[in-house]
């Protein structure tokens, strides 16, 4: 660990804060150019922040963004790009929803039923990610390509299975289609927040637990060390006896298992069924959140909350007459500028270190100093 000095704290904060400020400036310019008052946008955000419902929704969104980010980060830490979190969580959500909604599950006690649902989701996610891992270690297929392809395959598979003659039930008069509704015993109760019609997801604790576990495994276990070592230098890891193939498979499976969890807070806390309007694209948001949070368990939590808040202010922008797309612009600029800002700070730090080292060692004494 780096020593905490005021200077290092300042440098650590410089990148994210600078990026946020930069993103705010860019968004303000875009708003001004398109004929909207940036102050209105600030007002809209402030109004959103005062509304308990929006905050609850933001935290709820952050819950699954965070899970998606952790899933991505596990891969990132060993230079594996699991772009397939999206397909993994959707397939996992569909299959576990179908299981949880099945009639025979009602005989199980509530706790067991929920546990089984969650475990099945993790297994499905892991299995789907495992395909990519297997292709990588046996055939050398880049996981970037295979996971993207598997996303498309998952989309078709989900669509194939989400039919009345297979896993879905169709309701008369409804144009939606989805798995049978999970009855009360299989649902995870939320927390009522005063002034809000939405409840806080009960599974927020699951996300927190995953975060703690992620931190513990990475920084306190041999497996975590080997994972990071492989990410930093594969050849060095091999030289010190790490089985890289095993690490690839294991980390992909873990990443997929966490990806399987992404849909759970929404499924068990609000939707109770996997249907056409189940949120999509969370895997890709996870990539952005992991980048923003630098794969750090707390950094990603903050990033997820920021993302959740921004996503849920879109409606407030809309009511104020500001195009809701400004949220996408802000998110995009934040990710880009954070990446650039971290690189700038890193370079500055290296230069400062070289300078300090040079200052301490590199000065040649003058003749007078030597002779005196």
């Amino acid at each position: 660990m780096r020593k905490l000095t005021p200077r290092s704290v300042l440098l650590g904060l410089a990148a994210p804060v600078g990026a946020l400020v930069f993103a705010a400036v860019v968004s303000a310019i875009i708003l001004a150019v398109t004929g909207h008052a940036p102050t209105d946008a600030v007002d809209a955000m402030a109004r959103a922040a005062e509304r308990p419902r929006t905050l609850v929704n933001a935290v709820n969104s952050a819950t699954y963004y965070y899970l998606a980010a952790v899933a991505v980060a596990i891969g990132f830490r060993m230079k594996l790009f699991n772009i397939g979190v999206d397909g993994q969580y959707r397939l996992a959500a569909l299959l576990s929803a179908a299981l949880a909604g099945a009639a025979f599950m009602e005989q199980l006690p509530s706790f067991l039923r929920i546990t089984v649902t969650i475990v099945v989701a993790m297994l499905v996610g892991a299995a789907w990610a495992g395909l990519a891992a297997l292709l990588k270690v046996t055939r050398g297929v880049s996981e970037v390509i295979s996971t993207i392809m598997l996303n498309a395959v998952a989309t078709y598979l989900v669509s194939y299975l989400n039919r009345p003659e297979r896993l879905a039930v169709s309701t008369a008069g409804s144009n939606n289609i989805g798995t049978p509704k999970i009855t009360e015993g299989g649902q995870v109760a939320g927390f009522t927040v005063e002034g809000s019609s939405s409840k806080l997801f009960g599974l927020i604790f699951l996300a927190a637990a995953v975060g703690v576990l992620y931190w513990f495994v990475l920084s306190r276990t041999r497996f975590g060390f080997e994972l990071k070592a492989t990410g930093l230098s594969e050849s060095a890891a091999v030289a010190s006896g790490v089985n890289v193939k095993k690490m690839v498979v294991l980390s992909m499976l873990l990443s997929g298992a966490v990806a399987g969890l992404v849909g759970m807070p929404q499924l068990l806390g609000s939707s109770y069924s996997y249907s056409l309007d189940f949120p999509a694209g969370l895997g890709f948001i996870g990539i952005a959140v992991a980048l923003l949070g630098r794969n750090h368990p707390i950094g990603m939590a903050i990033a997820a909350l920021l993302w959740g808040f921004l996503a849920n202010t879109a409606n407030s922008f809309d009511t104020s007459g500001i195009p809701r797309e400004i949220v996408d612009i802000m998110q995009g600029v934040i990710v880009l500028s954070v990446v650039v800002a971290y690189e700038l700070v890193r370079r500055y730090r290296v230069r400062a270190e070289q300078h300090a080292v040079g200052g301490a060692l590199g000065r040649t004494k003058t003749l007078e100093e030597v002779s005196s």
């Binding site: 955000m45 402030a46 005062e50 008069g173 927040v193 806080l200 909350l305 879109a314």
Partner: protein, 356 residues
């Protein structure tokens, strides 16, 4: 004012930082509600809020049709209107929030465009009995039904049946195509009706079916390039008429039809007369008309003159709101035949299934 803004934003960031703790603490604040709507129009009459499906105003299709109805009502009645859009991949909570913000903003008449609002509208309507709601394309008992909800649904299969008849009568090869935007139960209704119509005329005709995307990928409604590829494949395989039930992607279907000297069939509006399709209009022999605009307009005027009625209102061939287009004169020769089928459907002699 500027200072309070700063303070409020600081409060926002603080709440964000503290996360959970923040949202507990914020509860005692006086809810500022939806705030003041920016539209300066005086609330002369009704305040109408409209929540679009993904794509929003300008999608050249479903949402635009709803927007037309709203515009017509606006010019006629002088309404105070607020339109909100949806984002792809959002959750039901965000849809619910959208409707609640409309209600909190004082919009006492709310229209939700698309079945995705079913759950959300059910919840919000229960909490706001004084507000009149309408949802397009959904009527699910116990979900989006209530004393203050009008469910405006369409018998798309009936109109699709008629254009299927037209396709079969016009086809020389006995081979026709169906391009669906996204493979959902709603678009499957179009396919089922169309196929039934084709088979009613020519039992041995081939109907090629292709959906552009699978949910949750809804780009199939707005990707002309995909429509072009799909239609090209069908024409190469012998089809000479293709029905495009694919929103904005239909543009690509018509383009290919023109390039290959084949025919296309439009959807939702009378697409022959759409300015955006002027270049390819001569290949559009007919369109399946689904008058979402009429439904929206009817609903608003019913609230306006106090004749609001909750529950399902079906727009079909009999009641109007579903029909086929004759603009361009390409099907004048077979119009009598199509009208025969139309009369049979209206009288109930032919029942068009809406599911496979």
């Amino acid at each position: 004012m500027r200072r309070t803004r700063g303070v409020r934003l600081a409060a926002a960031l603080l709440a964000l930082g503290i996360g959970l703790a923040g949202c507990g603490a914020k509860n005692n604040d006086t809810g500022s509600g939806g705030g003041t709507p920016t539209s300066g129009a005086p609330a002369a009459g009704l305040k109408i809020g409209l929540a679009y499906d993904i794509g929003g105003r300008g999608d050249q299709s479903f949402n635009d049709s709803a927007a037309r109805g709203l515009d017509k009502a606006k010019t006629e009645f002088g309404l105070d209107v607020k339109e909100l859009e949806a984002t792809a991949g959002e959750t039901e909570a965000q849809k619910e929030d959208r409707l609640r913000q409309l209600v909190e903003g004082g919009y006492t008449t709310v229209v939700a465009v698309g079945f995705a609002y079913a759950e959300a509208i059910g919840k919000v309507a229960k909490d706001s009995p004084e507000v009149k709601f309408a949802i397009i394309d959904d009527f699910t008992d116990g979900v989006d039904t209530g004393a203050n909800i009008a469910n405006l649904t369409f018998a798309e299969q009936e109109g699709s049946f008629l254009v299927g008849v037209a396709a079969a009568l016009k086809s020389k090869t006995g081979n026709v195509g169906f391009v669906g935007g996204v493979n959902t139960p709603l678009i499957q209704k179009f396919e089922v009706g169309y196929t039934a119509g084709v088979k009613a005329v020519k039992a041995d005709a081939t109907v090629q079916v292709k959906y552009l995307t699978q949910p949750p990928d809804f780009t199939g409604f707005n990707d002309p390039a995909k429509g072009e590829t799909a239609a090209k494949g069908m024409f190469d395989a012998g089809a000479d008429v293709v029905y495009a039930a694919a929103g904005g992607s239909g543009n690509g279907v018509f383009k290919t039809a023109k390039a290959n000297s084949k025919w296309g069939i439009g959807v939702d509006s009378d697409q022959y007369n759409q300015p955006a399709l002027a270049e390819v209009k001569d290949v559009i022999i007919t369109s399946m008309i689904k008058e979402v605009d009429v439904a929206v307009y009817d609903f608003i005027s019913s609230v306006k003159n106090g004749s609001f009625k909750a529950g399902q209102k079906v727009y079909d061939l009999k009641a109007g709101g579903i029909d086929y287009a004759t603009s361009g004169g390409k099907i004048d020769d077979i119009k009598a035949k199509i009208d025969e089928y139309k009369a049979k459907i209206v009288s109930g002699e032919i029942k068009v299934a809406d599911k496979k």
